[in-house]
Subunit: 208 residues, 2 copies
């Protein structure tokens, strides 16, 4: 069902999206993407952009429209979205919104192997993580307020709101997890610590 897309890199989605509005040349796309802050949501780097443009041409989703030269600068090739590209774009968007994908975040990998670390250490690390999560929340909140302050409608910031919601949920999870480890009666600490020949962690919060 998945990944029969001719071009799978999400950067291609952004490219097609911008070309919906008007033809552009790659460098313009690059600048626009960066200025518009899309790089926060879609992994972006210079080289990949040219690669993706090439793939889109080969797939027939965009086409070279003209090659212009301005002053003594190198030639710039301007690309336009084709009809098939416009269709691919809408279809892909629909799929992304309707179907949740199974993804593989790094934290999940670590969690699945977490028993390999000693519980007391894990608690320390998780507390530090909580601080980092808070920082990210503050930063994201700042991006939102900042952009709203510039008069951008909130609709164009839903992805940041989503990020925020996920950060909050993760924080809550981590807090619960810590509790589960250190809880004096029912905590996993003692059983877990046995794997490691280590003293069970206590409930004091003095550390870190």
């Amino acid at each position: 069902m998945a990944e029969r897309r001719k071009v799978g890199n999400l950067l291609a989605l952004a490219v097609m999206s911008y070309l919906t509005q008007r033809p552009m040349h790659p460098y313009e796309l690059s600048r626009t993407l960066r200025e518009h802050g899309d790089a926060r949501s879609i992994k972006f780097n210079h080289g990949s952009l040219y690669m993706v443009v090439g793939q889109l041409v080969k797939a027939g989703f965009i086409a070279e429209q003209e090659t212009t030269r301005e002053g003594q600068r190198p030639e710039r090739t301007v690309y336009a979205l084709t009809d098939s590209g416009r269709q691919e774009f809408r279809d892909w968007m629909r799929e992304l919104v309707e179907y949740p994908r199974h993804e593989y975040p790094h934290f999940v990998a670590a969690l699945s192997l977490i028993a390999a670390l000693a519980p007391s250490e894990v608690v320390t690390l998780l507390r530090r993580r909580l601080d980092r999560l808070t920082e990210q929340r503050v930063e994201t909140r700042a991006v939102i307020d900042d952009t709203l302050g510039q008069g951008v409608p909130a609709l164009f910031l839903v992805e940041e709101e989503y990020r925020l919601a996920m950060l909050e949920a993760e924080s809550a999870f981590v807090e619960r997890f810590i509790e589960q480890i250190v809880h004096p009666e029912t905590g996993w600490g003692p059983m877990w610590a046995e794997f490691h020949g280590e003293p069970a962690p206590t409930d004091e919060r003095e550390q870190s």
Copy 2:
């Protein structure tokens, strides 16, 4: 700061983790990973495993221990974790637990470009997404109960609990988002719909 790791694929983390316990040959790793259900948390496929093993050898984190042959089966090479590998494993784990990473989920990409679809269509798609999210929650819950039922301690299922927490948070977010679009007075629908020359969506729930 990131990705100076000699081997970056998370599959390598799982490999090192298993080799912590005893030396194994690749096929055994492959089977163990699949049976143990790690494939739900770490992207896995046959080819990548051999690649990763090769990279780990080159980096000095694992070493060929012996080459055995059993009956007329092809030779199997058994690998063991080196000291440097053991250290890399713990260090990597610590990093993963302490530092949240900026990831790029597919849904975020779609959200960042969501204004390109008509609001009424988006509402329909989001409602379908909610159904899918519910399915995934049910499935994850089943995996957890099932595994617990086999006597596995809950500690080894935290990653599934995490997944569950994220699914719930996402569902909540999507519900709020729908409300923001269709809310009779303050909804984004009308403004949004203007981009599309389309009638503003109403608040009736009859559709879908």
